[in-house]
């Protein structure tokens, strides 16, 4: 059923594109309607593996798509003041309904050229160092921080290791814990392991409805356990990486709804929904002092874990 749906969607998409190209007056509306209905059905009954595909959907809005739609007066700031400027992470000052905020997003590319420029959304150490620098600057001036997470993971390469990928992520985690301003993190697509979490130590952490958040990619998990990346489907189910499971486990504060069929169906609507949610969340956090925000954030993560003490001795 799912596979059938997918094929039908792909066929319709192709048909639609061809039709639009050859004859702009054609019965586009009918086909578009069909496509939307199928998209919606697909999203609602998606298996974990299909959810992974949806989170990585090539047409899914990326950080900059949201930034353009949700904020005004966005001014990008560049560089880690030590080595370089990583295009896989975008940081800037902006206004949300007139209120100044810092926004930091992990940015994937859409076409081949952009994908290469953005390194497929895989940040290097200088990216994380830029982000934490931006966040510290924001804290200095008492402005809230919004992080948009969307990465397959931190870049695994020789240069990234040489420049301290692990250290950059570690420092980012510790320094986010120290920020005396509201921090709201949203996984908008792919929450890939430590590379995503490096910008995920928030007072509130949300997933978009069709996003995923995982300790390891299903492909790598399958390769390790079953020595076969083709078992990714099994791994995706085993990892419990979807919003419903993560909320139950206390990892996230909730899921933010996407338009019917998913964020890729209607970027504007997706951005509207996210924007409304951010405004609401920041309003909730507004009354808290810097000390309260730090304390609250600490305990949020401190409580994450599942264990028991054997016997009654301790």
């Amino acid at each position: 059923m799912q596979e059938e749906n997918r094929l039908r969607i792909e066929n319709l998409e192709r048909e639609l594109a061809a039709l639009k190209a050859s004859n702009p007056q054609a019965d586009v509306a009918r086909l578009e309607g069909q496509l939307q209905m199928l998209d919606r059905a697909q999203a609602q009954t998606a298996t974990p593996w299909e959810q992974v595909q949806l989170a990585r959907h090539p047409k899914r809005p990326h950080a900059l798509d949201y930034i353009q739609r949700m904020f005004t007066d966005f001014i990008e700031i560049h560089g880690d003041r030590a080595y370089g400027d990583d295009a896989a992470i975008v940081c800037g000052m902006a206004k949300l309904e007139g209120a100044p905020v810092m926004v930091c997003g992990q940015q994937k590319g859409r076409d081949t050229k952009q994908k290469l420029i953005r390194n497929f959304g895989m940040p290097k150490p200088e990216g994380y160092r830029k982000a934490i620098r931006a966040m510290q600057m924001s804290a200095k001036f008492g402005r809230p921080i919004i992080c948009l997470l969307d990465t397959p993971g931190a870049y695994p390469g020789i240069d990234a290791e040489e420049r301290g990928q692990a250290e950059a992520i570690a420092v980012s985690l510790r320094e986010m814990a120290r920020l005396g301003v509201p921090v709201v993190c949203v996984v908008i697509g792919e929450g890939g392991s430590g590379g995503a979490l490096a910008m995920g130590v928030g007072n509130r952490v949300y997933l978009l409805e069709n996003a995923i958040y995982s300790v390891i990619s299903p492909e790598s998990c399958a390769a390790i356990i079953w020595r076969d990346a083709a078992q990714s489907e099994k791994a995706a189910a085993a990892l419990k990486l979807t919003a419903d499971h993560l909320e139950r486990l206390g990892i996230i504060d909730g899921a933010i709804p996407e338009p019917p069929g998913g964020a890729h169906v209607d970027m504007d609507a997706a951005a509207e929904l996210l924007k409304a949610h951010l405004i609401e969340t920041l309003a909730e956090l507004k009354g808290l002092s810097p000390e309260q925000l730090i304390e609250e954030r600490y305990w949020k993560f401190r409580r994450m874990g599942s264990f028991f003490t054997e016997g009654a001795s301790a």
Binding site: L173, G194, I251, M304
Partner: protein, 281 residues
């Protein structure tokens, strides 16, 4: 992130040693100099090769005995993981835990203790590589968080000795979040002006390196330890070329500025003693 599955068995296990042992486990082949050495001599020498100084791996309890002056008090010994996501690979995670617990006489991949180093009270958490590759799950996160609490309460320094493949994927995103949990705790220790020293041993990779192992006031490694974020295999697959000799070893990290020192096992305690003299008033 968790590379424990692909790691070759730890050289400290008897089964691994048997591969290279000539007669009845009396002899061991050194991976450093390829020479055959007398096991008794190796054990007497803190498991350093008497011929080339190669650091054989040691387990968590042996590490504590090496660093503390004498007796030490263990904490949270019975803290045990649940199976939060019902993970099943070749066997259920709960069964894997149970068999590891029997094999190692530990409840998880970490021993947390308080004792003295040259007369100074110190909390030490030592990771146990033999327990699912030293992987970090909720128990490791909580035990280190509690050790941080004890350090804060008693104003004592904290040492974490790392040996781990990274986050424990069998606990899903919960294991990932331990990186944030422990790093947040270290922020508190930092704010309180208390010393935290990270000792990195072979191997320290993944989410452990990308959190507490890189956050020491001092990051000190044993010689020749594999230390990195991504595992060498992942990097090779990404760039499709062989990695240079010595890549991601302690000396490589020292050269690139991410370690304060590379210190031999035999000199570690003296180094810590001096560091604490500097750090503690």
């Amino acid at each position: 992130m968790s590379w424990w599955k692909r790691d070759k068995p730890s050289v400290t296990t008897s089964s691994a040693d048997n591969r290279t042992v000539l007669t009845e486990g009396l002899w061991v082949k050194c991976e450093g100099c390829r020479q055959v050495i007398f096991r008794q001599e190796l054990e007497k020498n803190l498991r350093l090769c008497p011929k080339c100084g190669y650091h054989f791996r040691i387990d968590a309890r042996a590490r504590l005995e090496l660093l503390f002056d004498g007796d030490y008090e263990e904490f949270d010994e019975t803290l045990t993981s649940t199976d939060p996501i019902g993970f099943v690979d070749s066997k259920p995670y709960s069964a894997r835990l149970a068999s590891m617990q029997t094999a190692t006489d530990l409840r998880d991949a970490i021993v947390s203790a308080r004792g003295e180093i040259n007369g100074r009270t110190v909390n030490i958490c030592a990771l146990e590589l033999k327990f699912i590759g030293g992987s970090m799950g909720a128990v490791m996160g909580e035990k280190i968080a509690r050790a941080i609490d004890r350090s804060l309460a008693g104003k004592h320094p904290l040492i974490v000795v790392s040996a781990s493949g990274g986050a424990r994927m069998q606990e899903g995103a919960i294991s990932l979040m331990q990186m944030a949990k422990i790093s947040s705790g270290l922020m508190r220790l930092d704010e309180a002006g208390l010393p935290y020293i990270s000792i990195l041993t072979d191997p320290t990779t993944g989410g452990v390196t990308a959190s507490f192992a890189m956050l020491g006031d001092l990051n000190i490694a044993e010689p020749g330890a594999l230390i990195g974020f991504a595992g060498p295999r992942v990097i090779e697959q990404t760039i499709r070329q062989k990695l240079p000799e010595g890549f991601q070893r302690s000396e490589f990290l020292l050269q690139h500025g991410f370690l304060d020192a590379v210190v031999k096992r035999t000199e570690m305690k003296a180094m810590l003693t001096q560091a604490f003299e500097f750090m503690c008033r």
